[in-house]
Each structure stands twice: as C-alpha cells, then as structure tokens.
C-alpha cells in the first residue's frame, strides 16, 4: 500500500486513500446496500447470514458484527459508508463519533457544547503539535 508520510502523521486519523478504498471495497459496498429498507430488515433479521453474501475478510466481518468502527476503518471502511450501519441501528452520528473516540456519548456531547476537541497536540505526531 502506498506510503503517505504526511497523511499518516495526523493523530487518531485514517485518511481514506485509493489504496484503503481498494482494501475496503466490499465492506463499503455492503454498507451501501443498507440504503434500501428491505435490506436493512434482512440485515437486522440475521446479520451473519446477510454478511455472508459479501466477500468480506474475517477481520471485516467480525468488526461489523462487533460494531467496532475503529477496526472497520482500519480494514478499509469509510465513515460515510459505515454511517449506514449505525443509521440502521438507530444510533446517531454523535454517538458513533463518541464511541470511536473512546468517550461516552454524554462526555462527548459536553465536549462539543464546550467548543469541541481542541486541535492543540492533534495536528502532527512527529512534530508533537
């Protein structure tokens, strides 16, 4: 996979490059299928059976079943595609974002009400700023 030194230097961030898009193609296409209500019903009825129709890696499949969004992203998922999963679950974007940052929904909501996460120290790993 192509190395992007700058992109990989941003703390807590996974930039969705062409190579990640290639890795996550089927995972993200599965997510797109959840834009149809009948597919959401099928998925909710039997998640494993529904997932079996997509050629996902085991890591991808397990991450979906566990709703481990950071792991889905590590396996090529993109947040706008993955949003179809938590929309199907009735989970808000804010709750999903909270879970990815390791915070409770309440603590995250309070952080946002107080101006959000500061960019200080969040810009560059190697430059420590």
């Amino acid at each position: 996979m192509k190395v992007h030194e700058d992109l990989d230097d941003i703390p807590g961030t996974t930039v969705f490059t062409a190579a990640r898009s290639h890795l996550g193609f089927h995972l993200n296409q599965f997510c797109m299928s959840l834009m149809k209500p009948e597919n959401r019903e099928r998925f909710k009825h039997d998640e494993a059976a529904y997932l079996a129709k997509w050629p996902l890696s085991e890591a991808q499949r397990n991450a979906v079943l566990a709703r481990d969004y950071n792991e889905m992203i590590a396996q090529g998922g993109n947040i706008y595609f993955l949003a179809k999963i938590f929309a199907t679950d009735g989970v808000s974007f804010q709750s999903a974002a909270a879970s990815m940052s390791g915070m409770t929904t309440e603590a995250y909501a309070q952080m946002m009400l107080h101006g959000g996460r500061s960019p200080e120290g969040q810009r560059s790993i190697r430059e420590g700023r």
Binding site: I10, T13, M111
Partner: protein, 281 residues
C-alpha cells in the same frame, strides 16, 4: 444573458436536517443555530434566484465506490431524495435545470474540465440541508438546482486551486447562456469537523474564522492551501471546505459580504455561513 448575482456558503450537517424535519428548531440546542439563518431567509425571499448551482458532496449516497467522479454535474429534470439509512428526508424532490446543466457540462469540458455528466441521481443531505436552511419547509422548492457534486470522500479531493478555477469556468459558462436567468452559486460543507477515529469532534475556531475572513480578504492563501493543512487544522472531514472555493471563483474578483455567521456545535461540526453579493455596481 444569465448572470451570477450572489454566493452562499453553509455547512450541511445531517442533524440540522433532522432538527428541521422533526420540528426541533426552537429548542435550546438548535435555536441559536437557526437564528443565524434568519437574515438569509429574508434576503433570498427578496432575491428570488431562478437557479442555484449547488456545489456539494455526495456522502456515499448516489456514488458508491464503484465509480467516484471528481466533479459531477446533474443534468436530470428531477433528483430524488436519497435514503441515507433512515428513510429519505421528507422534503420535495429537487427540480433540475437540464438545459442550463447541459450548457454547463458542454462549456466546461471544452474549457478543459473533466466533468462527469450525470443524467440520474439521488441527492443527500449535502444538497438538501442547505436548501432547507435557506428556504425552510415549502411544498416545492422555489428554485431550480444544478447539482455539482465534488468528491471529498476518497483522497485526494480536487485541490483548492482546481475548485477555484472550476468556479471561474462556471462563471464564464453562465455568462454565455442565452436566457436571462438570476443564478446563485452555493458552496456547502465544512467548517472544521472530524467524524471518525480517536480525533473525532475536533473543532478549530481560529482556523474557521480565518477561513471566513480570507474568503473575501486573502483568497490567495486559501487557493494555495494544501490538503494536509485542511486535514491537520480542520479535521479530516473539514476538507469539504474546498467546495467553498468553487462558489468563490464563480463570483468574480470583487464581492461584497452581506452576512456572516459562525456557530459551534451542530452535532460534531462547526457551522459557518456567508452570503456574498457578486453584483457589479
């Protein structure tokens, strides 16, 4: 001849759409946000544009990973409302302007822009939330729309400079359209936000306000801003801001700021909103 009279920028958060659709605009959380659009709603009711060239990004709604256009322009009569996973927003379908859209795609391709022509697509919150913010909840949208979808999901989006140049080319193309039309160009997305990973929730007021300033006072800085700076400073999803530069390029050299608003938060996002007048006196 058609003419571009004004530009609008605004963020386009899905939760804003939900607040409108579910009648929650007066709550303590949402009222301050919607108050920032009161001036603009009166202004646009008076301006009555015929067409909005609406620059937005699709959020994995119309475009899957099968085909990812950098710049796509919608030439359909009508655009259905996408189901983003919780049913389509209860808003009217978006009515296109196929004749102007066909003129734009032909002009832009001959002007060296590698446009993807789209004859059928659904539109998501990136396009409909800005319409709701400016027009409220009408039975039918009071304007026709030419959707201009910009890829900002798979890296790299087009550069800020390329977006600015697309705006300039849109301006040239509109000026050669024979019908007398009042055309506005909107740029949506941004401001700072990150929706994924441990850094989710990043907001950078300083960056955002400098961006709002420089859209009228130091455009050269924004035109030359590299993607990595957006990503570091405005959050990974804040790179949607490049779409504002299409709007800015379409307004020509001199603009008059009419209205400015900034608010944090809307869900995970900082909301920025500008109204710019492009009418040459």
């Amino acid at each position: 001849m058609a003419r571009i009279t004004a530009g609008v920028t605004t963020s386009h958060v899905p939760a804003i759409g939900a607040a409108i659709d579910q009648g929650r605009t007066e709550t303590e959380y949402w009222a301050p946000l919607f108050a920032g659009y009161d001036w603009s709603k009166k202004w646009i009711a008076h301006e009555r544009p015929d067409v909005v060239v609406l620059v937005y990004n699709d959020h994995a709604s119309a475009f899957s990973l099968e085909v990812i256009p950098t710049f796509a322009i919608g030439c359909a009569d009508q655009f259905e409302i996408a189901d983003e996973g919780f049913g389509p927003r209860p808003v009217p379908p978006v009515i296109g302007h196929p004749d102007l859209a066909c003129h734009l795609v032909e002009s832009l391709i001959l002007d060296q822009f590698d446009i993807t022509v789209v004859n059928q697509m659904a539109v998501d919150h990136g396009l409909t939330v800005p319409l709701s913010l400016l027009f409220g909840q009408p039975d039918a949208w009071p304007v026709r729309v030419v959707p201009v979808a910009v890829n900002v999901i798979q890296f790299p989006p087009p550069t800020g400079e390329r977006c600015y140049q697309l705006g300039r080319a849109i301006r040239r193309a509109v000026a050669t359209y024979p019908e007398d039309l009042n055309v506005q160009v909107w740029g949506t997305g941004g401001m700072s936000h990150q929706l994924h990973g441990p850094r989710a929730g990043l907001i950078n007021r300083t960056f955002d306000n400098a961006y709002l300033d420089d859209l009228t006072s130091d455009l050269d800085r924004l035109r030359s801003m590299a993607h990595i700076e957006y990503l570091r400073e405005a959050g990974s999803e804040g790179i949607e801001l490049v779409m504002w530069l299409v709007m800015r390029g379409a307004l020509g050299d001199a603009v008059t700021p009419l209205h400015r608003f900034y608010h944090v938060p809307a869900s995970n996002t900082a909301v920025g909103h500008l109204v710019l007048d492009a009418t040459v006196s």
